[in-house]
C-alpha cells in the first residue's frame, strides 16, 4: 500500500501534474486504493499531447484496457520499465503495446496502427500497408502472416540493444 501511495504521489507531486486530479485522491489512501485516474486526464497532460502512444500505454497497463489507471497500474508500469525487470517481461509488454486489438498477435492491422501513429498520418494508406507487409515479412518466423509473441521476441533479441535500453531511470 505504501508503494501504491508513493506511485500516485509521484504522479501528483511532480511539476505540472500537481493538479491533475486532486479531487480524485481520497483523504484516506489505504481504505480505498482503487482510485482510478481516468484516461481523459492522462491523455490531456500537455507533455503527452503529442505522444502517439499515450492511449495505448494507458490501455495496456490499465486493468480492463480502458485506459483508466489505478495506483497498481502505475506501479506495474514502473516495474516493467525498471532496470531490474527481466527482458521477457519487457518484451511482453512491448508486444502488448503493439497488439492493438488484444488478440495476442500482432497482425497487419496492428502494425498499420503503429505505423500510422509513428508517421503521424503522413503516409498514404497504401504506403502504410506496404511498409507493414515488409515489417511483418521480416519478423514473421512461422509465416502465419502475423507476429506471435515468440516472433516478436526473436526479432527483438536479434538487436540486443533494444530491450536493454527499454527502461527509464526514475
Amino acid at each position: 500500500a505504501a508503494g501504491s501511495i508513493s506511485g500516485l504521489y509521484v504522479l501528483h507531486k511532480e511539476g505540472d501534474h500537481e493538479d491533475l486530479a486532486p479531487q480524485l485522491i481520497p483523504l484516506d489512501y489505504t481504505s480505498c486504493p482503487d482510485v482510478k485516474v481516468p484516461y481523459e486526464l492522462i491523455g490531456s497532460m500537455p507533455e503527452l499531447k503529442d505522444n502517439p502512444f499515450r492511449q495505448r500505454i494507458a490501455q495496456v497497463f490499465s486493468d480492463d484496457g480502458d485506459g483508466h489507471m489505478t495506483l497498481n497500474n502505475f506501479l506495474d508500469m514502473f516495474s516493467v520499465m525498471s532496470e531490474m525487470a527481466p527482458r521477457d517481461l519487457k518484451a511482453y509488454y512491448a508486444f502488448k503495446i503493439y497488439d492493438f486489438n488484444n488478440d495476442d498477435y500482432i497482425c497487419a492491422w496492428d502494425l498499420e496502427q503503429t505505423v500510422t501513429k509513428l508517421t503521424r498520418g503522413e503516409l498514404s494508406a497504401e504506403e502504410v500497408s506496404l511498409v507493414c507487409e515488409k515489417v511483418l515479412d521480416e519478423a514473421d518466423g512461422d509465416h502465419d502472416g502475423r507476429l506471435s509473441l515468440e516472433d516478436f521476441q526473436n526479432m527483438i533479441l536479434r538487436a540486443p540493444d533494444f530491450l536493454s535500453t527499454f527502461h527509464i531511470r526514475i
Partner: protein
Amino acid sequence: MMRAVLPLFLLHLAGATEEPPQKPGLPGEPSPGLALFRWQWHEVEAPYLVALWILVASLAKIVFHLSRKVTSLVPESCLLILLGLVLGGIVLAVAKKAEYQLEPGTFFLFLLPPIVLDSGYFMPSRLFFDNLGAILTYAVVGTLWNAFTTGAALWGLQQAGLVAPRVQAGFLDFLLFGSLISAVDPVAVLAVFEEVHVNETLFIIVFGESLLNDAVTVVLYKVCNSFVEMGSANVQATDYLKGVASLFVVSLGGAAVGLVFAFLLALTTRFTKRVRIIEPLLVFLLAYAAYLTAEMASLSAILAVTMCGLGCKKYVEANISHKSRTAVKYTMKTLASCAETVIFMLLGISAVDSSKWAWDSGLVLGTLVFILFFRALGVVLQTWVLNQFRLVPLDKIDQVVMSYGGLRGAVAFALVILLDRTKVPAKDYFVATTIVVVFFTVIVQGLTIKPLVKWLKVKRSEHHKPTLNQELHEHTFDHILAAVEDVVGHHGYHYWRDRWEQFDKKYLSQLLMRRSAYRIRDQIWDVYYRLNIRDAISFVDQGGHVLSSAGLTLPSMPSRNSVAETSVTNLLRESGSGACLDLQVIDTVRSGRDREDAAMHHLLCGGLYKPRRRYKASCSRHFISEDAQERQDKEIFQQNMKRRLESFKSTKHNICFTKSKLRPRKSGRRKEGVANAEAPNGKPPRDLGFQDTAAVILTVESDDDEESDSSETEKEDDEGIIFVARATSEVLQEGKVSGSLEVCPSPRIIPPSPTCAEKELPWKSGHGDLAVYVSSETTKIVPVDMQTGWNQSISSLESLASPPCTQAQTLTCLPRNPLDAEEPQAPLHLPSDPRPSFAFPPSLAKAGRSHSESSADIPQQQELQPLMGHKDRTHLSPGTANSHWCIQFNRGSRL
C-alpha cells in the same frame, strides 16, 4: 616482397620530389631572345609540391593495400608513419636539411578540417547523443585529469632527480606539456579504430572524446602557455578564474559557431533547387567557414566543425539531390583520407629532423609510463562514476580498450612545435618526448590493439543495415519511453529527445527543409524506400536469370530435407554452365520470402518514381535531362523486368517440357533435349535472357548508359559467359573474390559476391529455421498467368533432386548459346562429373558461395546452416509493377 619493392619505389618517388628544386638553376642566365623552352619551377613550386606529396601519399596507400596481409595486421597509420620516416631520411640525406615537415599552420588550417568535418558529418548522431554524457565526461574531466596528473607527475619526477637537470622546466612548463600531451587525438583514434571495428558504443565514446576534448586541450594549452609566458610569479588568482571561464567560452562558443553555420548551411541548401551543381560545394564551404571563423575567434574549431556537420546533416541530406549527396559523401571521404594520409606521412618525416629535438630518457620514459597509467586510472575512475548513471554500464573490457585506445597524434605534435623556445626552454626535450609518445601510441598501441581486442573478445560491431522492424521498434520504443517518462513526470533523456523532435518537426524542419523533402522525410518510409532500392539493386546485380533458377530450386524445397536442398543447389552450381548464373544467385540472394519483397517493391516501383517522391523533388529545369535519364532508366528497368517475366514464362514451359522428355534419356543427349525443348517456342529463351541481363545491369550500373548500348553489352556478356563456362575449373581454383558488378553475368564471379546479398540483408541470415517455412511461402507468389507452368515445374523439380546430378545440369545449360553448346561442354562437366553419381557435395557448394573456394574442406555441418538461410532467398522474378503477380501474403486469409 613488399619490403623489396617499397624502398625502390620510395626512392624513385623521393627522387621525383627532390629533383625539381635543383632544376631552377637553368633559366638563371640572361636569355638571348625568345626562349624556346623555359623552366619556371618557382612559379609552380608550392602547389606542385603539395600535389606531389598527396600523390606520393596516395601511391603509398595503393602499395600498402597491394598486400592484404600487411594491411590486415598493420594499421595504415603505422605504415604511413614508417614511410614518412624513410622519406624524411631520404630528404635529409639528399637536401642535407630537413624539409617538408608538418607545419602547425598547414596542419590546423588545411589538414585537420577535412578529417573533422568528415567525422562530424557522418557521425551517427543518435549514438553520439545517447552517449553524450559519457563522452563529455571523458573529454572534459578525463582530459583535465590527464593533463594535471601527467604534468604534476613529471614535475615530481624532475624533483626526484630522475630527469636530467639540463631539462629546464618548472611546474608550469610541465603542466603545459601535460596539457598538450594528454589529449586523445581524433586523427589517430579514427585511423586505428576504423580498422579495429569495436562495437559502436565503445567507438563513439573514444572517438567522441577525442573530438570534444579539443576545446579542453586548446584552452589548457593556451592558458598554460600564457601562464608560462607571464611567468608563474605574475599569475593572479583571477587568471585562474579566467582560465576556467575561457573553457566554457571556447567550447560553447565553438559549438555555437558550428550550429550557426549548420543553420545557414541548411537554410542555403533549401534554395538550391535550380542550381543543384553547387550543392556539394556549399556544404564544404560553409563547414570550412565555420572552422575558420571559430579559429579566428580562437574558439574550438574542431568543435565548431563537428557541430556543424552533426547539425546540418539531417536537413542538408533532405534538401540536396541524390547525386549531390553522393558527391558530398565521396568528396568528404576523399579529402579526409587524403589529409589523414598526409598527416601521418609528414609526422614521420618531421620526426627525422634531429635539430629540433633533444633526448632525455628520464623524461621520455616517464611520460610514456605516466600517460598510460593515468589514462587507465582516469578511465576506471570516471567509468565507475558514469556507470552509476548509465543505462548500459561499461564493463571492464570496455574500459581496457578505452584506456588503451587513448592514442596521441598530430595535434599534440603540432601544438608542441608551436611552443616558443625562448619562453619554454625545454621545448626541444618536449618535442622529442612528444614524438616518441605519438610514435609509441600510433605504432605500438595501434599494432597491438587489434590482437588485444580479439583476445579480450570485445564485442565487435556488426555491420548491418537497419531492418524495417528495427526502425519501427526504435521509434515506437522512443515514444513509449517518452510517454512513460511523461506520465511519471520525470524529465529524463527520452523526455528531452521527445521535446527536441517535436520542436524539430514543428519549426526547424519546416524552416530548413523543402516542402517536398519534408514530405518524404518520414524515417520509416525512408528506410522502407532505401531497403527497397537496395533490394532492387542487389536483385539486379545477381543477374537476370534469377527467374528460372528460382523456379528450379525453390519448389523442391518443401519436399526435401535441408541437406537435399543444399545439394540441389550445389549440383546446379557445380555445372557451371550459362544458366548457372541463376544458381549462384540462389544462394547469394536472400530468402524465399524476399521474393515477396521483390515482387512488392516492383509493385512499388511504379509508385516510387512518381510525384511526391525525391525524384520529383530533384526535378528542375536545368537538369531535366538528367532526371529524365534517371527516370528513363527506371523505365528500362521495369521494361526489362517485364520482358524477363515473359522469357521466364517461356523458360518455365521449356523446362517442364525438357524435363519430361529428358527423363528417360541418357545424359549425353541432354543437349539435344534442350534444343528440342526450345524449338517449340518461337523465341529462344536464352537470347532473351541475356538481353535482359545486359540491359538490366546497364540501367543499374551507370545511369548514363543508353539503351542503345545494350546490344553491345549483350555481345560482351555472351562472350563473358562462354569464357567463364570454359574456365570454370580454373576460376574455381583461383578462388578469386570479385564482387564486381560489371562482370556480373559470368557465373563464377557471382558467387563470391554473396557479400553483396549478405551485406544487403544481413538480418536475413539470422534465420536458422527459415527453410522450413519456405515451402508454404514458395507457392504463394506465382504469376497468375503462370500457375500451370509453375506447378509443372514444381512437380518436375521435386523429382529433380533424386535423379543423377547431371540431369540438373542440363536444365541449367538452357540459356547457353547454341554455338558454344558443344565446346564448353567438356570442361563444364569436369567439376561435376567426377563425383559419384549423386554426391551433392555440400562442401563445394559452400566453397562457391563462401569467399574462398579453397576452404572446401571445412566440415559441412557448419556451413549448412548459413546455406539454408540463404538458399531459398531467391527473388522470384519480381514481376513488374503490374498485376502480373498475385501476391498473397497469406496473413490476411489465415487470420
